[in-house]
Symmetry: C2
């Protein structure tokens, strides 16, 4: 037995994950820095992101740490508040675009911070910009400095206890009082209580309240009103009742609150009046373009799609490094090796995590495209509106339709997939994945609300799917081509009439898979259209609508991935990207929707079985060879990953143990409740505890 001292004293050789990781890097066929630029869309954006990572990992208040995984609710909120205060300095000092990128990156490790600021700067201010006049925006956001998180803190009062998804159904009332030229904001019953309002419990000074405009007994539908909640001393305004909504599954750093208004009076001009206007006499001027007001909500959806990419990148990085460093059992395919087999060399393990690696690439490229599409669409529309060019406005609105479909499909599909990715990568790290210090637990709990808020995933999916079905109906009935992101539906007739069947392995190229996906979408949509017409119900085809939304999202991603591969300048990058694309299309597309591909006669059953039993394992193995450089390419540093088992150098056991010991003082060998435990173990007999009342002697006395 050789005793040796390195970082620790060992009496026999222990595991050596560091060497395993180093070997992987030695075999890299490409430079992760090059790949990073491809994933992020440009070298400039990639560099900006790294600069921000550096700034964040150094910042004493903004930098994440393992202690973040141990905070109580109160501590969490305190920390978030300190981080917000720190962020106000950045919002005043760096370009707005950089500030948002910083916030988006921080959202990966501190989603509570992300949403607290996003509700204020995103929802609250976007709502004023989208629904208010220029003067109203200037007053509330510029003059009052709320856009710099100063003086005012705004929250977003849409959801009620009784109404979430159906925002048009909210029941808070804003009744015009002609006498005083005021609106009276009122919560008529418990169901209309504003609920879940982020920032309301403790932070907000103002809310944009969604309320029914009532004038002379007539209900004009839901409009938006700026309502002060707290005065300059941060005391609740009269008539305003607010409380903390309490503990949540995650995001404990957010002070979500409930709000009840009891006949709260606000001046008429606190109503946001870009579109709908109410004059002094209560006359209502209803807008022709009120739909424009909803575009401001799209930023959130686009952001959540991007969040999905970054959170997947984080956890697939951790799980891949763990799979390389961790050895367990001996594979019967590696009997020549001395040591136990690395998890990543098991076919099943590859099949569990490699598809998520490929998916993350598709997400990265796809959401970069979505971000650009969003920026362009908004800019075109803003320009047209600024020029008051009605024709240009309507032209721009056509683009927003594509953006609605794409962002709805991608937000819902990607947030769901990210939920699955966190779950599967956590399980792939075994027990270590259950430790708070690996990062999975908190992130999962924080993440999953993304599937519910700002458009419940099923509601969004149904909405995107409905558009696809309507497009198909238009194409088939009117025989016209359509434009925008669903233009591929225009070939519907051909796809329906001509036999299209993938039969052979050689056909499984990216371009053919894209085509196959289009054929499937057309066939599902056409069948759904028929069913919808027959049953005269859209609800009857809701399942098909969500399915179509998912397929459309994958079409968007696959198309982007395919184009990026073709555009890649370095051959070694193009080569590995083509392998990633292949894996993505085999697993996330052809295998995930295999039943539909087979049943709608797009893929032959035999080929589908071959995909599962032969092609997927082969493709996983191909990507596995470059797995470490592929995750290194996400360029997320240790301080950002914040995972004891996911460190860059692979030294996971020593690092994990050190974190455990640092955060749980081993010199305290007894728990604070140890006396209770000891007392319990050392308790007397049942008889003595019953004061011997049940003994034979007592029995004798009692019966005598």
């Amino acid at each position: 037995m050789v005793i040796q001292s390195k970082s620790l004293v060992s009496t026999s050789p222990g595991p050596d994950p560091v060497t395993s990781i180093a070997e992987e890097r030695a075999n890299a066929t490409f430079d992760p820095v090059d790949m990073h630029a491809v994933i992020e869309g440009s070298p400039e954006k990639a560099q900006k992101i790294l600069e921000l990572y550096q700034s964040l990992e150094r910042d004493p208040i903004l930098a994440p740490g393992y202690h973040d995984y141990e905070l109580s609710r109160d501590e969490n909120r305190e920390q978030t508040t300190a981080r917000i205060a720190r962020m106000t300095q950045y919002v005043e000092n760096e370009p707005y675009e950089d500030f948002w990128r910083r916030l988006n990156l921080m959202t990966v490790y501190d989603p509570s911070l992300g949403i607290r600021i996003s509700v204020n700067l995103g929802l609250f201010i976007n709502c004023i910009r989208g629904n208010g006049t220029e003067a109203q925006y200037n007053y509330w956001c510029v003059e009052k400095e709320s856009r710099h998180m100063k003086q005012l803190w705004g929250c977003f009062g849409m959801t009620e206890l009784g109404h979430g998804s159906n925002a048009a159904g909210v029941e808070t009332t804003a009744t015009f009082d002609e006498k005083s030229d005021e609106f009276i904001i009122n919560t008529p019953h418990i169901g209309a209580t504003k609920w879940w309002i982020g920032g309301a419990a403790h932070s907000a000074t103002h809310v944009v309240a969604y309320a029914r405009l009532i004038i002379k007994g007539k209900d004009y539908g839901v409009k938006t009103f700026v309502v002060p909640l707290r005065d300059a001393r941060h005391q609740l305004m009269p008539g305003v009742a607010i409380g903390d909504i309490g503990s949540k599954m995650g995001r404990e750093g957010v002070d979500n609150g409930w709000i009840q208004f009891s006949k709260v009076r606000i001046p008429r001009f606190f109503m946001l009046q870009k579109f709908c206007k109410v004059d002094r006499s209560g006359k209502v001027d209803l807008p022709p373009l009120e739909q424009l007001s909803y575009i401001s909500l799209l930023q959130g959806r686009v952001g959540m799609a991007s969040d999905s990419y970054r959170i997947c990148a984080r956890f697939i990085t951790i799980a891949t490094r763990y799979a390389v460093g961790r050895r367990q059992f001996k594979s019967d395919q590696r009997e020549d090796e001395k040591e136990e087999t690395q998890l990543i060399n098991y076919p099943l393990h590859q099949r569990r995590i490699m598809p998520y690696l490929a998916l993350t690439y598709a997400m990265g490229l796809g959401t970069d495209r979505l971000e650009r599409q969003h920026a362009e669409t908004v800019k075109t529309l803003d320009d047209a509106v600024a020029k008051k060019n009605e024709k240009a406005i309507y032209a721009a609105l056509a683009n927003t339709k594509s953006l609605f479909v794409d962002s709805a499909a991608l937000k819902s599909t990607l947030t769901w997939l990210a939920e699955q990715c966190i779950t599967e990568t956590r399980q792939a790290c075994g027990g270590s994945g259950y430790s708070a210090y690996s990062g999975f637990g908190k992130s999962y709990a924080d993440w999953v609300v993304q599937c519910t808020w700002e458009g419940d995933n099923n509601v969004l999916g149904m909405s995107a799917g409905r558009t696809l079905i309507k497009n198909i109906q238009t194409i088939l009935e009117k025989d016209i081509k359509i434009k925008g992101s669903t233009a591929y539906l225009s070939d519907a007739k051909e796809y329906l009439n001509r036999k299209y069947y993938l039969k052979r392995e050689e056909q499984l190229t990216a371009i053919e898979a894209l085509r196959a996906l289009e054929v499937l979408i057309v066939r599902v949509a056409a069948a759904a259209a028929e069913k919808q017409e027959k049953l005269e119900s859209w609800d009857a085809v809701s399942y098909e609508r969500v399915l179509l939304s998912k397929l459309h999202a994958h079409h968007y991603l696959l198309e982007t991935l395919f184009l990026a591969t073709r555009k890649a300048q370095k051959p070694e990058i193009a080569y590995v990207l083509s392998k990633v694309t292949k894996l993505y299309l085999l697993t996330n597309v052809l295998e995930a929707f295999a039943r539909d591909f087979v049943s709608y006669a797009v893929v032959k059953p035999q080929l589908s079985l071959a995909i599962s039993s032969k092609l997927v394992p082969e493709s996983c193995l191909e990507v596995r060879g470059q797995a470490v450089p592929l995750v290194d390419s996400f360029q997320q540093p240790d301080g950002f990953l914040n995972s004891a088992i996911g460190v860059y150098d692979g030294n996971m056991y020593e690092n994990y143990f050190k974190v455990v010991k640092t955060h749980n003082d081993p010199t305290k060998t007894k728990a604070p409740y140890s006396l209770d435990l000891e007392d319990m173990l050392n308790r007397g007999s049942i008889q003595s505890r019953a004061r011997f009342e049940n003994d034979i002697e007592a029995s004798k006395k009692l019966s005598s």
Copy 2:
């Protein structure tokens, strides 16, 4: 506007979920009490469970409450300790079987408590019983009273930092010192640190340590040793280093710890020696029946399968009641209704939750069967061993093989399905599902470790699947019939050679679905067998092995459900059970594995599409009609569900609001950190904060 005062003052009518729930109950076609007896296997067991619920909901310490969702780690552990202390009174006073039933029920709402006690009374004591001599069991468990959670507290030292699933690979050593007649327990390096050991951090006085038996330089493999960790004053023994493993994703009430042994000496007879014996001179007597020692681990697996049923019952009850009480939007299928549409009346919502309702029935009946199978198998074996009847022992071992396959397949498949069920039912409750007070968040975080521990699901699935493939190989090569729970494989040749094709809707009866499932299993297993033989690797068919394990689990459940329906005495029970069975087989079986059914030519593609687009919606609708009585039949009382939105009377809004206000004092209108917030909002200008050093005046001065 009518103002009225009921429980609260409303200025217009609010939501009325209570009436909605009452209407559902009025339409019940059967008595939930009858159904409860069917699900639990007998009226006696059903009654026992209700008595235990009553005892628990009254017990001041054991009863759950909403405060449970807000505990810090320290508070959680303190509460768990208090509950353990309370449970010691029950373990001394009620029949052991009742005590375990009580503990299993409590595990649904307090899994930390469940596992803390299970590690001690289950793993620790079962390990001594399974591996130790009768004298050893009597000494450690009876004389020392550990079976009553007294004097000693045992933990289970199998897992190490470097070895989890591969228990045979643990690296802790137990070296025999002939001179002193002792074993020296040693942790040679960091990888051999005992890790995750439940109860080690603070509670345990002893551990059964899995360590390599080393005698005269020879490694005899992993054996078990009782090692004292703490002395009678609860101080750590010399050479024993223990620490808290820290924060986890869930189960924060458990004091998981790490243990390192530095040459810790124990007497030779602390080694458990039922099978493997070491005499005074170091001679080793190796056992012929060491495999018997693993049977004691099966109790945990059976328990986790049962846990899956009860946790699904809890959340499907909550989600179903919520879906009845919650109204949102207006379905285009219910335009005649005045109010918005109840979630449960949307086809998509039915499709999201009804399949889990059917699954829960299948789980309930299936795990009751598994519990009985386990009890019988253990009893038969124990009897044979007691009689030292070797022939009877070998006969009993054949039964244990079935139990190994069934419990592995059911533990892995059902814990995974339960994970999905909690996720989907939570999402089906929208934002309310994210509130801690609805119960989903804590339960999810507590639950998911079930997929990892006591046999990682993929490892267990591979194990069960391997047996199925081996069985098929035996059947096909040797042309013999097999017995036990995989007897249905005996028809393999017929299933492979004869064409078997479900084409028509009328064929989709339970008995035909069971047959179809058998045909699919046979075909998947045969294809996997061929691949395994060709590639000479079991790892190459790991994906197929896990698939087979899942299919076998569903076969077990479907068979049980089918038989229970046939056996049901009351016609109204049989009728509704047949509907539940139909929904289960359509969704959880035929749709969940649709690709395989179609590609292996068991179900026609057209029929598969019809299942999805027509039969599943129809079947969901049928079950939806009795959804509330069906979940009432689980008979879980409000105090046990512990969900603000899942209460029996359906009064979810008022109840939820009351819970929020009770647990978050609204009179505290400012947060403890409010001054930081106010200071941030009311900060001075950038210029003033920079002491005007960047102003023009300063610039002039500095440049002059």
